[in-house]
Amino acid sequence: MNSLNAYFIIGISVFFILGIKLLASPKTARIGNLVAAAGMLFALLTLHTPAGEYVWSVWTFNYTLIAIATLIGLAIGAFGAYSVKMTAMPQMVAMFNGAGGGAAALVASLEFIKPEQPGNMPLFIAISMLFATLIGSLSFSGSIIAFLKLEGKFEKPYTFPGQNILNGLILIVILGLCGWLACNTSDSNTATAFIIVFVLALFFGVAMVMPIGGADMPVVISLLNSFTGLAVAADGFAINNMAMVVAGTLVGSSGTLLTLLMCKAMNRPVTNVLFGAFGSGGGAGAAGATDLAGRTVKPIQADEVAVLLAYAQQVVIVPGYGMAVAQAQHQVAELSDELGKRGVEVRFAIHPVAGRMPGHMNVLLAEANIPYEQLCEMEAINPTMDRVDVCLVIGANDVVNPAAREDKSSPIYGMPIIDADHAKTVIVMKRSMAAGFAGIENLLFYKDNTRMLFGDAKASLNALVAQVKAS
């Protein structure tokens, strides 16, 4: 690395670090994203080969290919980014992440099977390449499965007896082959062994995500995002590009922390999410110890709810994935507006893992022009819940289930929840009595102060808006 290039790397790093830092505040987030993008442009313009040659000083046939490929990627990315519905945002992030993982694996593979100097490569370089191949392809196939699960294809956990053992065996075979490859980079069987590693890693990505239920996809996507970051960093080591090392590592470490924060919010260790999926152990736990027999839910009609809301002082709305599915965020905003005009104080309680991604609800509500001052985090809203007149739960389930506080045998016992049941009246808007994503009975529905408003969220909300206006 010559000294000018070193300054470029420092500049690129500052752009990325500053970008992520600005992304951390609602006021500067958009600028932060642009700063990071500017860093990327800067990195593109100053791109040097490991030998220190300026990449754009020549133009060969390969550069024409680069230009075509970049434009194709740009078209795919732009189409995906601007055509996707806001509710499908998590899937889109999963897809882009998968593309990055695939690219990381391909770059490392090419470097490995076509090294610049023949003969055994240094052990550290070989390990970096194998790591990038392994993690990159795992992230690629895992992201595709995560995407399909969020699209509603086989979203139930897919398990069979001995699955963890089989996955463990595959992992051992992969690591064994990698160990052999790292020490024998110029053996005649290298290419074969390498292809086996590549294919097994792709399969392992599928096998890793398949047993995990759709509700845990946020954690999985976050984890795969940090995986791709690490794969990119390993690629950076392999081809001696420090900008890639810095950017990849930043993503890897911040993504890992984000993953742990999400697991913490669900009160589950990350190992439990990955290897002990709710589905496999949930069969017995789903019933729980609390006897619900003989207890019934109390339905309510929209006109009664409208009166309750219109004459309340404080209303808290708890949105969940059901709101996203029904695309009801605009109706929610309209209702909130109407109530606001009548002097009702409306706040939104956002559980950290509501929806399919942390912040999923914020994105949807922001799309509907609800000011973010009205969005409250769980810790802020829970102490005030006793003073709330009406708590309106729209398509949320597990995140308001008091079983997390009361039922020690419940699989979600100990998970922090929004204390919806502490409000004077709780209205739960729900399509039917089906259990939530975790397959657990919700004790909230059976509380004395709970009323159920059955039906499609969008239709119910339209009725509510009309009747609040009228009353």
Partner: protein, 93 residues
Amino acid sequence: MDSNSIFIFVLAVFVGIEVISKVPSMLHTPLMSGTNAIHGIILFGGILVLAKAAPNDPLALTLGFIAVVFGSANVFGGFMVTDRMLQMFKKKK
């Protein structure tokens, strides 16, 4: 391998943890999306390997080409989708 690159790696690990620990949960999706775009820097890895691929080596050209397409989709799509999310975080007029 030189100790410099390891040094950079270790520092970046800590910086990555430090910058994210202050993010409110409402920004987690945009943040995940934004960091997702940043690892799109793999595009340059793709460019570097494709640039030096031998013109008579269809395997290297093909794999490099796919890597660049993927990397490009990651970086452009990532920043665009993040921007689209964030432009909705605005105050009520």
